[in-house]
Amino acid sequence: MSRGSANAGAIGARLINQLVIPTPSTARGRDLRGSLGSRLRSEIPRSLRALGMTRSWWVVALAAPVLFRPLTLAAQLAVKADTLYTMAGAPIPNGVVLVGPDGKVQQVGPAATVHIPRGTRTLTARIVTPGLIDARSVVGLAGALNTPADQDQLETSDPIQPELRAVDAYDAQERLVAWLRSFGVTTIHTGHGPGALMSGQTMVVKTRGNTVAEALVDSATMVAMTLGPTVGERFKSPGTRSKGVAMLRAAFLKAKDYARKQADPDSTKRPARDLKLETVVRVLDGRLAALITAHEISEIEAALRLQREFGFRLVLDGASESYMLIDELKRAGVPVILHPTMIRNTGEARSASLETAARLHDAGITVALESGYEGYVPKTRVVLFEAAMAAANGLSREAALATITIDAARIIGQDRRVGSLEAGKDGDLVLFDGDPFEYTSHVCTVVIEGKVVSEGCR
């Protein structure tokens, strides 16, 4: 009997491989997996019944593979690597990652310690890393065409609009999303862009799915804010740096007052719901982080000052002059989502240095790299390339990889799910044919939650 159920388990695993893996869209994959489950429930009992078993017997028979041979039924995909960067410990030579049918990592380790169930689809690569994370993007709200019709990252009717949700403007089928995915980016923290005092909310998505719902990881992550003269280019006021800070302080004070009134025990005295203030309250109470784009020294200092006054969770964005304020940043314990390494040395970023990521990292500051916002050509950057440039300018290979995996995951609050290859985390992987950062290496396969989402070396 146990032999029979083991076979049933193997058949099940094969079925999962056949049905689920070639599916391009995760949503369809999920559907198929669901129908497979019901098929197992309807067909296997029938065959067991034919063997003269009662209902209680087949329940035990079905449970057996789960209880005694969990890996046999479960493995959806195995990935073998000459060098496996788990980002949770030292790289593993000759490593294996096993991903279960739920899309989660089941097991990670040296090949000798990981049993790959027979029939499991197995991929092999020289280097394997976790799926890459773009810690701050506008892709999906901003499209490649760069015409007003596909630019939804910045609303210019008011400089303070934190109520704008990223989920209401994300195009999961945007070609730039597919472009990033093809270069190994599986998770993006995207949403409203820089350019307003509060431009709106950000969210976290996987670079998959046909709809925002299918892509979604976290629907509201941060509120995007910008300090400095770029805001004045689009709005009548603020026209100066200090006016911008004054307006932000007023907004936070108003939200504090709103929160106090909302807490009134007498419900008749509570003010009507206000989407704008509600969102700022969520920043004040720490449910949403404040993502402040600040490049120049005075702007970064102003961001730290605001943080001290209102106590919100601050994440610095851009921060091209941050290497001049390393002690201050360290003291404040603020993580930095640093501008793309190859940002143009113009305007606010004229002091950008290729070595900033290394300097911040060496000082113990948590750093992630971003594609950021691009107004022109290229319409997005690719964090793999930006991290490579940082690795060529003082950052160790593993620290550079951390800026687009585990450290990025930490900053966007998703390190329990993504950013490293550990049991229970998402089975997001990138397969390379060489050093991920070498210009002439290729991303050969990209996997999101156990499913191949991009193939063909590029």
Partner: protein, 438 residues
Amino acid sequence: MLIRPWLLLLTSLATAPLAAQERPVALTGARIFPVSGPVIENGTLVVQGGKIVAVGRTGSVRIPDGAEVRDARGKILIPGLVDTHSHIGDGDGGDRSAPIQGDVRVLDAIDVGSDNVKRARAGGITTVNIMPGSGHLMSGQTAYLKLRLGKSINDLLYCSDPLTEICGGLKMANGTNPRGAPPWPGTRAKAAALVREKFLKAVEYRRKLELAKTDSTKRPERDLEMEALVQVLDGKRTVHFHTHRYDDILTVLRLKQEFGFKLVLHHVSEGWKVAREIAAAGVPCSIILIDAPGGKLEAINLRMETGAVLDSAGVLVAYHTDDGITDSRFFLRSAALGVRAGMSRARALEALTIAGAKMLDLDDRIGTLTAGKDADFLVLSGDPFSTYTHVEETWVEGTRVFDRSRPEDRQYATGGFRLMRDFEAGDDDGDADLGGGR
């Protein structure tokens, strides 16, 4: 009287520093990519008087007496890079008065002391074609510069006298950048018609010049634009044509067919769609590599594979920076990503050096490490196409113009506090080219 010989000697000693470049320099033990031939694993390069004296295997190359011998073991030597399309030097070009301004010279507006010129040296660029912008059908005359250390544009020009010589090419553009309200063209067909009309005028002007050879009274009045266009018709001035979409590329090929000018296609985002046609026309392509498509409609189908596709179709391919669209410091990277997308390493290296030299008609002087050519070369820390490689030294005509070990030079490679000038890329039609639209 007796003192005189001593005076002479003193004089010669005093001038010794000036004559230092005359002292031969030999770099030995390096891995040399001469581009003109196979890699030399343990090679020696000898330069003197601004020229390459010898290049070959260490031991087989004679090192002249008195040469400064430098141990270059572990280093890679390649020719100085040729950037066929750049906007360094903060130059401009035609103004908003007309869409065709063939009389305007970018050399009248270049600041050779600009920080982005220093950045280009840090990126290993030794020869550059500085272009006016692409917001015009014809935005002006380009300038071919050697990035010597110099205070004046005259120190950097390839030509010796801008008053009597041709010092660059002619910049033209089609597609969306030169569009606008009249007198700018509103459609593609109108753009082509305006350009054809102008060239027909030049044909007529040239005919009058011919007639004047026998009858000087028939000599037409001097017309600066017509003079430049006659140089184009005569094949003495190359047209550098900004064009993205495949149909716009074909329009340029039609213009070339009609007027017979010497042509280099620039950007060529959709060149992969019409590679055969470009090859059949025998026209070289100076291309850009961007990290992602889009940002402007014409670049939506831009691919990293363009270099490989054009090359295998038999087209001469060079990369360019279009600085500030891509940064001069990352020029090697453009070709490296071309290799990633299928180009051979050898061709990619040519696309940074000799191919561009050919497009600027300078291949007799630059583009390879060959005895007799200008001593323009780079000392690299590693493989030319590796991410981790740095340009350690850039040499122009036997002089080191960038040295990464000098802090004041190094900052132009890495960036530094308040180092770069505060200018906006693409802020007007005279700036960066992909960004030259309005």
